[in-house]
């Protein structure tokens, strides 16, 4: 079975999102216990209610996990569209897609640890430019095919 090379960055980013989810849980659950929150009797309440209750660095993992369920969703959509249109043969698409995934992993590492906004923002900006490149490519294909 031949595997489309554009699926690599998609699967890796999904896997990374799950890693962040585990990292979030592994730091949050002990912090909740420490804050005296008893999850056995708890009714209602959501993760965001913990902002200001548990230490910020604990919430940073959660902030990043939430972030990963936002913009990457349009990354997945555009990569699937490119695969369907047959753009996988273009090295440009593959570089951009891997660039997006790798930069997002770096972004996660920063947000989950030091969380210096300047660096985090720079990585987010460059990853967004990769996404913009992929979208421009898809737009080009679709306009080309329609005309």
């Amino acid at each position: 079975m031949e595997i489309d090379p554009l699926l690599g960055p998609v699967v890796v980013l999904v896997a990374w999102t799950l890693v962040m989810m585990i990292w979030m849980a592994a730091t949050r659950l002990p912090a909740m216990r420490q804050a005296g929150i008893d999850t056995k009797t708890q009714i209602g309440g959501r993760g965001q209610d913990l902002d200001g209750v548990v230490p910020p660095s604990v919430q940073w993992k959660a902030h990043n996990y939430m972030h990963l369920t936002e913009q990457p969703t349009i990354f997945y959509a555009i990569v699937f569209a490119l695969i369907l249109m047959g753009a996988s043969g273009m090295p440009m698409s593959i570089y951009l897609a891997w660039g997006y995934t790798i930069l997002r992993i770096g972004h996660s590492m920063i947000q989950a640890t030091t969380n210096v906004v300047k660096y985090r923002f720079s990585l987010f900006l460059i990853s967004s430019l990769c996404l913009l490149g992929l979208t421009a490519e898809a737009l080009y294909f679709v306009v080309h095919a329609t005309l």
């Binding site: 910020p56 660095s57 940073w60 902030h63 369920t69 936002e70 913009q71 969703t73 349009i74 997945y76 959509a77 555009i78 699937f80 569209a81 369907l84 249109m85 047959g86 947000q111 030091t114 969380n115 210096v116 906004v117 300047k118 967004s128 996404l131 913009l132 979208t135 898809a138 737009l139 294909f141 679709v142 080309h144 095919a145 329609t146």
Partner: protein, 140 residues
Amino acid sequence: MTHYPLLGPVIALVAWSIVMLVWLAVARAPVLRGRAIKDGSRGTDLEQAHPGKSNWPAHNYQHLMEQPTIFYAVVLSLVFMDFQAPINVWLAWGYVGFRIVHSLVQATVNIVRIRFTLFLGATICLIGLTTHAAIWLIRG
């Protein structure tokens, strides 16, 4: 190069989301200027310090990262099922059209009655697409 008419609306909505990302950055830039940024802060923190209009494009961008995810999932499913009847292409473009106008309203005047109506229109298109996918699945 294969042409799938249903991919047009998908790509257009992704492109529009990036436009809204740029809009949110432009709207927030003046608020950010000269402000000391604490480690770990996020867009939502900015909102507390500076509520109001400058956050509206950001609200909309956030919104575009929510429901459209299931739009992409169902439209791509329709492509995989090869159910690209014109009605689906119209519904998908309808969804995108409603969402773009919804963005324009939320980022500018933000009149909830209008915004809600547009959201409702988009959602009806999405329900149509989902129903078609479900019917196709059952028939298949």
